[in-house]
């Protein structure tokens, strides 16, 4: 008998939902057969069988969210296996009652501790104590000690990205209860995997990264004109049109190449170094049906605007149909978030860790602008850079925006 457990499909994945079972109990399974589809924090992926046999038991039904490492099914390969502790199938992560009283030092009412006890997480006493004190969930942590034991070093490695603080900490308003309005009703909507990751990562980013914001505007008249000319020509040729955002991705990529220290990551408080990235991979914040996703245009500094346009269009389309792969969302070094299409003038964005900065872009619209002491009607674009002050200073951010402004106002350099 072979235990099949919830796999880790991405380095940020902590739990996954069985989207559908392709095999049913009693079905014959060959190596490479698709057992089920698993929805992770980033994507839905097919899970192939590594062993042959007969599917003996489905422990976690479709639709249920469980921590990675949780037993999801058993495959009968004709051999007896030594009895293993039956795992945490009984402890689906979402099942913990949400309105539980706040401080929960005892394992009985806290979801992570239940998982810890029942799924046989092997962790050193030190790690268990730290998990207890900080209310950490160990189920997603990969142990590197003997026999897979989670040791202190794993915890250090995993913090802050892999360890969640459950949303029921003492200070969280959910714990107080009266938020639920009885008369008109409040609806409990379960978090999707994507929503959960957004909540955790951006919460962490806002809490731990000292953000600062620099706002500037650029005369986008030339950019709008250029885009018009480009698209007229592309339409003649029967090729895909480019958007203002595609031009902006290219502009940011070039500005990042000019200011490589903005294309950087803070590593950790204990690190003696910061990381400056050789590649310029620009993420585009996309509102997918499930929430925010950030597909990445890799090497945007060496791609033409047209290439970027084709790629971005494809990524956005895939995102809206939920088809982005983990690769397509990995490796970003900078993100652009554009809310211009919603009529937003300007806004600030939260940095997408481990990146060092994000550009929040408002709409390009006509304004009365003073040019050569005359009032003219021009297209103006406003944008705000959020930067991680641990690695980027105000002057650097300002210089970056200066370069970006120059590129927008002289857009020919974007297509050279």
């Amino acid at each position: 008998m072979i235990d099949i457990t919830m796999p880790r499909l991405s380095d940020t994945m902590e739990e996954g939902t069985i989207a559908t079972w392709h095999k049913q109990v009693g079905d014959t399974v060959k190596v490479g057969d698709i057992l089920c589809e698993i929805e992770s924090d980033k994507a839905t992926m097919e899970y192939e069988a590594y062993d042959a046999g007969t599917l003996a038991e489905i422990v976690v039904p479709a639709g249920q969210l469980v921590a990675i490492g949780t037993l999801i099914a058993r495959l009968d390969n004709g051999k007896d296996s030594p009895t293993k502790p039956k795992a945490a199938a009984a402890a689906p992560v979402t099942a913990a009652p949400v309105a539980e009283a706040a401080p929960a030092p005892l394992p009985t009412s806290s979801a992570p501790a239940v998982t810890d006890a029942q799924s046989g997480v092997v962790a050193s006493p030190l790690v268990r104590r730290l998990a207890r004190e900080r209310n950490l969930d160990l189920s997603g942590v990969q142990g590197s000690g003997p026999g897979g034991r989670i040791i202190r070093a794993d915890l250090d490695k995993a913090l802050p990205t892999h360890i969640t603080e459950p949303a029921r900490g003492a200070a969280m308003p959910m714990a107080s209860g009266p938020l639920v309005d009885e008369k008109r009703g409040s609806q409990e909507i379960p978090f999707t995997s994507v929503r959960r990751v957004i909540a955790r990562r951006l919460g962490e980013s806002a809490r731990s990264i000292p953000h600062f914001y620099v706002t500037a505007s650029a005369d986008a008249e030339a950019l709008v004109t250029l885009r018009g000319q480009l698209n007229d020509r592309l339409a003649e040729l029967g090729r895909t049109k480019v958007s203002i955002n595609d031009l902006l991705v290219r502009a940011c990529a070039l500005a990042l190449r000019e200011h490589p220290l903005v294309n950087a990551s803070f590593v950790s408080d204990n690190s003696a170094t910061m990381l400056v990235h050789g590649r310029v991979n620009v993420g585009i914040a996309v509102a997918s049906p499930n929430g925010l996703v950030v597909p990445v245009v890799t090497d945007a500094d060496v791609k033409s605007v047209e290439e970027i346009g084709v790629e971005a269009k494809d990524l956005v389309k895939q995102a809206s149909t939920k088809g982005l792969s983990i690769d397509q969302m990995s490796g970003g070094t900078f993100t652009i978030s554009n809310l211009g299409m919603f009529g937003v003038e300007e806004f600030t964005a939260i940095i997408n860790p481990p990146e060092g900065a994000i550009l929040a872009v408002g709409g390009t619209k006509k304004e009365a602008v003073v040019v050569n002491d005359e009032i003219q009607i021009r297209h103006v674009m406003r944008y705000t850079l959020s930067a991680d002050h641990r690695i980027i200073d105000g002057a650097l951010a300002a210089q970056f925006l200066q370069t970006l402004g120059r590129l927008i106002e002289n857009p020919v350099s974007l297509i050279l």
Binding site: S124, P125, L126, G145, R149, I151, R152
Partner: protein, 338 residues
């Protein structure tokens, strides 16, 4: 401070205490005319005379018992048992009399005596003469057991042992007699029951006593130089009372520990130390406590087998690295070997 050997430190302290207090007297086999099998009592018969330096018959039970009686009546006898192996002949006197008289008879008589005796294998003395059985005494309430590893500690603990009103087993070690160290000139007794952190560190706690405390310190210093390791070393100094607080405090800091001992593993001092850590620092442990001890055999006579049976420095280093690996420690990149 004066640089002297462990042997010299014990000799000088015995002499100084005999000069200070005329109730201090010595008893043992061959300690007078022959000046002791290990020459600890050299010159003392000549200086203090037969009344205070008594050569005894080869009868450990008899002269240990005689010393207990002398102590009950006000003397401060220091008995030499030629090796700890011979204490087995006197164990009834030590365990059933010296340790219990004060408690059993309502505190009417104290037993302020010292039993000096060396342990230590590795001298090809065979199975019956190569044992480290201090554990038998550390097991017994009513006794104190101290085990210095340096000349300075030998002096301070000998001062404390002679001046203590309880019977104290003073464990020496054949392999330490010729080791040298700075010894303070002042007359400051140690506090019995207090361990020493002989090297501060943060990566791992290495615990030993007697010869193994010496070995532990040496290895820690060496690994600091070669591998950039920062090992904390604890010399227990006293096996009863055991300084549990110092052990626990250290492991709370380092999260892992290796205990090294010259006796057998099973039921050994290391087991007691490991249990102490489990009691006091369980929630701080990132790896199980490791013990390095002697092979579980009567000590072989053949040199090669004897060497194999005794815990070596390599055994200790191996246990250190296995423990550090278990807590995910990577070798420092600053060491000269990298």
């Amino acid at each position: 401070m004066t640089l002297m050997s462990y042997r010299q430190a014990i000799h000088d302290t015995l002499r100084a205490e005999m000069l200070r207090d005329e109730n201090v007297m010595l008893m043992g086999e061959e300690i007078g005319v022959f000046e002791g099998s290990y020459k600890i009592t050299a010159g003392l018969l000549a200086e203090f005379g037969e009344k205070r330096v008594r050569d005894t018959p080869i009868a450990e039970e008899g002269f240990t018992g005689a010393a207990i009686g002398a102590a009950m009546l006000g003397l401060r006898p220091v008995v030499e048992l030629m090796t700890i192996n011979f204490s087995l002949i006197a164990i009834d006197q030590i365990v059933n009399h010296a340790a219990k008289i004060y408690g059993m008879f309502g505190g009417q008589a104290k037993v302020p005596m010292v039993i000096r005796t060396p342990g230590g294998g590795g001298q090809q003395l065979g199975a019956t003469h190569s044992q480290n059985i201090e554990l038998y005494y550390a097991f017994v309430p009513g006794l104190k057991v101290v085990a210095p590893s340096t000349p300075a500690d030998a002096k301070a603990l000998m001062l404390a042992a002679i001046r203590d009103d309880d019977p104290v087993l003073f464990l020496e070690n054949l392999a330490l007699y010729n080791t040298k160290g700075e010894v303070p000139d002042h007359d400051e007794p140690a506090v019995i029951g207090k361990a020493k952190v002989t090297r501060e560190g943060s990566h791992l706690t290495l615990i030993g006593y007697s010869r193994m405390a010496y070995v532990a310190k040496k290895i820690a210093d060496q690994l600091a130089d070669t591998d950039g390791l920062d090992i904390e070393v604890i010399d227990l100094c006293s096996l009863r009372p055991l300084d549990r607080a110092t052990i626990v405090e250290s492991v709370k800091k380092t999260s892992c520990a290796v205990v090294v001992e010259d006796d057998w593993l099973t039921y050994g001092i290391g087991a007691e130390v490991a249990a102490t850590i489990s009691d006091g620092a369980f929630d701080y442990l990132d790896a199980p406590v490791r013990r390095v001890a002697m092979a579980e055999v009567p000590m072989p006579y053949a040199k090669s087998l004897e060497t194999a049976a005794i815990p070596s420095e390599d055994d200790v280093i191996k246990a250190i690295y296995e423990t550090l690996n278990a807590v995910g420690f990577r070798r420092s990149k600053t060491g000269p070997h990298d």
